[in-house]
């Protein structure tokens, strides 16, 4: 396992941003492609360029909930930004602009993060409250709908939006002890979900594989670091289950970009290179693949395009350059090859259809 990147200082591979900032709670992409965005523990949002130099006016109380709760999600879509905390959320227009130009609508409901969906929608994981979608239905209204969890019986912990080659919109979600659920999605319509459960598996994250020829492929992660590799979340009912013994700690996040799969645990960041091989109609888990680990204690990770991985630490942010990482892994290739302890190609899964109901309401701007 590699040493902590903090011991090496800034390198081609790693750069420390906002060093000494202990108040950050979220890090990720800003709107467009011109920098990073950060959330703080007292509910503010701020922006920097790619080198971590702050610009613009910070946005205080970005969830408009008056509780100063930590920002746990920020997403941008169609000119809007949604910021969430566990006690509130709000949708903004011109969030990055001057304070006098900003407009906001308080959504009010706490959430476990938000992702940009399709058609300008935002999807929010409401834990035991279900899944909420927010979109601008007219210039004067923000519409939301909730698939309530009492009927779904899921603790919606993370969600991801995927788009098929035929343009079908799919939402997939990781549910604590409830499996992985997926369904066709259209803002305002009923969301009918199918859940796949593995006995005793505690799912804590799900992400796109980032493979353009398999747009509905996804990785799901359990709290004990088992990775499920779905070729197509809508049809694959026997995803490969992969487990690496050398991944210690409690698993927190999984993200994928290009040929990289990143698994953050309570003790380290693990990078798996070319976990799956994809070609026309061919999607296969590779049993011997290069991997590397960095010892660090991080709060969260976030991808910015296919270029950066941001690692949120207790006192700043590490920026990992994915191009440099690919070069690093390509050198001494054989020394870095490892194999998963187990690959189950035919796991026992329980499939169930979830009853969901929706409630719509509109927020007047």
């Amino acid at each position: 396992m590699n040493k902590s990147p903090l011991e090496h200082g800034n390198t081609q591979l790693w750069k420390t941003l906002l060093k000494g900032r202990e108040d950050l709670s979220w890090a990720g992409a800003s709107a467009g492609d011109h920098g990073f965005c950060f959330g703080t523990e007292d509910g503010a949002v701020l922006w920097t360029n790619f080198d971590g130099v702050q610009y613009g006016d910070p946005l205080p109380n970005a969830t408009l909930d008056n509780y100063d709760e930590a920002i746990n999600g920020i997403a941008f879509n169609a000119g809007h930004m949604v910021a969430t905390s566990r006690s509130g959320s709000a949708i903004w227009k011109n969030a990055e602009g001057k304070a006098s130009k900003r407009k906001a609508v308080r959504i009010g409901i706490g959430s476990h993060g938000v992702v940009a969906g399709h058609d300008g929608a935002f999807n929010m994981a409401l834990n035991v409250g279900g899944l909420m979608s927010v979109h601008e239905s007219s210039p004067s209204h923000i519409s939301t709908f909730t698939s309530a969890s009492d009927a779904m019986d899921l603790n919606v912990y993370r969600t991801v939006s995927l788009t098929s080659t035929a343009g079908r919109q799919v939402v997939a979600l990781a549910a604590r002890f409830g499996g992985v659920a997926m369904g066709l999605y259209k803002p305002g319509d009923m969301l009918n979900l199918t859940a796949l459960e593995l006995p005793d598996a505690d799912f804590i994250d799900i992400c796109s594989t980032g493979k353009s020829n398999f747009p509905l492929a996804a990785y799901a992660l359990t709290r004990d670091s088992h990775i499920l590799a779905f070729q197509d979340v809508m049809t694959d009912r026997k995803p490969n289950v992969v487990h690496y013994e050398g991944i210690p700690g409690v698993a927190y996040r999984i993200l994928a970009a290009g040929d990289f799969v990143f698994v953050l645990t309570s003790k380290a960041l693990h990078v798996i290179y070319k976990l799956v091989e994809c070609s026309l109609g061919y999607f296969k888990v590779i049993r011997r693949t290069p991997s590397t680990s960095f010892v660090l204690e991080a709060i969260d990770i976030s991808l910015v395009g296919n270029k950066w991985l941001l690692v949120l630490l207790a006192d700043g942010v590490l920026r990992l350059d994915l191009h440099e990482l690919a070069k690093d892994l390509a050198s001494d290739f054989e020394d870095k090859v490892s194999s998963p302890t187990d690959v189950w190609a035919n796991p026992v899964v329980k499939v169930r259809q979830l009853d969901s109901h929706k409630s719509d309401f509109a927020l007047v701007k």
């Binding site: 035991v128 409250g129 019986d153 604590r176």
Partner: protein
Amino acid sequence: MDESKPYPGPTQFSGHYYQMTPKHHGVGGPSASRWDVSPDDEFRVFDTGDFYRIVDYKGKVYGVWKVGEELRSLGTFDQVVAIFYPPSPPDRWHGHPLFPVRSAAPSVMKRQRMKPSKQVLELLEVAELVTHVQRKRLAKGDHP
């Protein structure tokens, strides 16, 4: 030990007496939060929270069970933080696992949406009952 009886000793710091209520040991039915640790360990979580003064503005005490660097599950729905309520005399303190609640929890429990405040999480960190990173993750609603 019969779980419906009062716990024999008081807490070290405040001298609070504790009652393990049947409601939170299975008698309360599926809608009640239920302990999944021994009576001694349940009291230990309360005693530790009282010792370090993990108290909110209403006087409620909060506790966790730290094993090494990890937080142990306290309840049947994987809660890692417990809450303890001050009694009306002559009753005793009682408590139950609180946060977070996993999916299979009954809807009554889900609707309660109870969570420790930001200030309570900060007290847990100051007392070193959770690490800095665990506190920051809990404050976001992440699992520790």
